[in-house]
């Protein structure tokens, strides 16, 4: 699957694989131990954020570096 930023396709793939593993093996089993994908997500996000700005895609109200942080409901 492609990314909006062609340059971050590899980072996206690495992150997606990490997330899918964590999601199936930990999260769905209500295992609250740490999220191993945070660093991968940060690197992937840098590419996505750059592509969104370049393509002027109207995204509002998101903190792009947010991953795994606890947020209020």
């Amino acid at each position: 699957m492609n990314s909006v930023g062609e340059a971050c396709a590899d980072m996206k793939r690495e992150y997606d694989q990490c997330f899918s593993r964590w999601f199936a093996e930990k999260f769905l089993k209500a295992d609250c131990s740490g999220d191993p994908c945070t660093d991968l997500f940060k690197r992937y996000q840098q590419g996505v954020q750059k592509a969104i700005k370049e393509k002027e895609i109207p995204i509002e109200g998101l903190e792009f570096m947010g991953h795994g942080k606890e947020k209020p409901e």
Partner: protein, 175 residues
């Protein structure tokens, strides 16, 4: 404005269906989704996973429709917010287009829950609201999009997840 809704039952338990649903793109039955990116992800204080994603789609609008709209652009972007509750066993996705908003609004909501009478099955309820704004043939375009959504949903319900469900334990090699 056009409202469309449907319900589908999968012959698999909720956990299995959710794992497949999270990996449903790309798929040959819905080639209009050409890109998926995660914008934000977090777990809230109730242990629910929130994901905000950006979907890049090619509508594949017929040439006549593009001429009516006066646009040669076919790539549009959709923003999706999903919430997965692993304890309550509910996954909800809401999506809406964030481009071409001057002439169309397409909002979809999908909810996956265990079948109330059989935990080995999963129910998907899906609804879409389509509004075309301020141009002639608005009703025609709304019908066209509703039919596309309905057709994709039928394929999604009956075929896509069936393709992915047997493979769900295989590692991701390409996505």
């Amino acid at each position: 404005m056009r409202v469309w809704s449907s319900e589908h039952v999968f012959g698999h338990p909720w956990d299995t269906v959710i794992k497949a649903a999270m990996r449903k793109y790309p798929n040959p039955m819905n080639p209009s989704v050409v890109g998926v990116d995660v914008l934000e992800r977090s777990v809230d204080s109730r242990g629910r996973l929130h994901s905000h994603r950006l979907l890049s789609t090619e509508w594949g609008l017929p040439g006549l429709v593009r001429a009516i709209l006066g646009t040669s652009r076919t790539l549009t972007y959709i923003r999706e917010h999903s919430i997965v509750d692993p304890v309550g066993k509910k996954m909800e996705l809401c999506s809406t287009n964030i481009t071409l908003t001057n002439w169309v609004s397409v909002s979809e909501r999908l909810v996956y829950t265990p079948h109330p009478e059989d935990p080995g099955r999963t129910v998907l309820t899906q609804e879409a609201v389509i509004t075309v704004k301020g141009i002639s043939l608005g009703s025609y375009l709304e019908s066209l999009m509703a039919n596309t959504i309905s057709s994709n949903a039928k394929k999604m319900g009956k075929e896509i997840l069936q393709i992915y469900l047997p493979n769900i334990t295989k590692p991701l090699t390409q996505q």
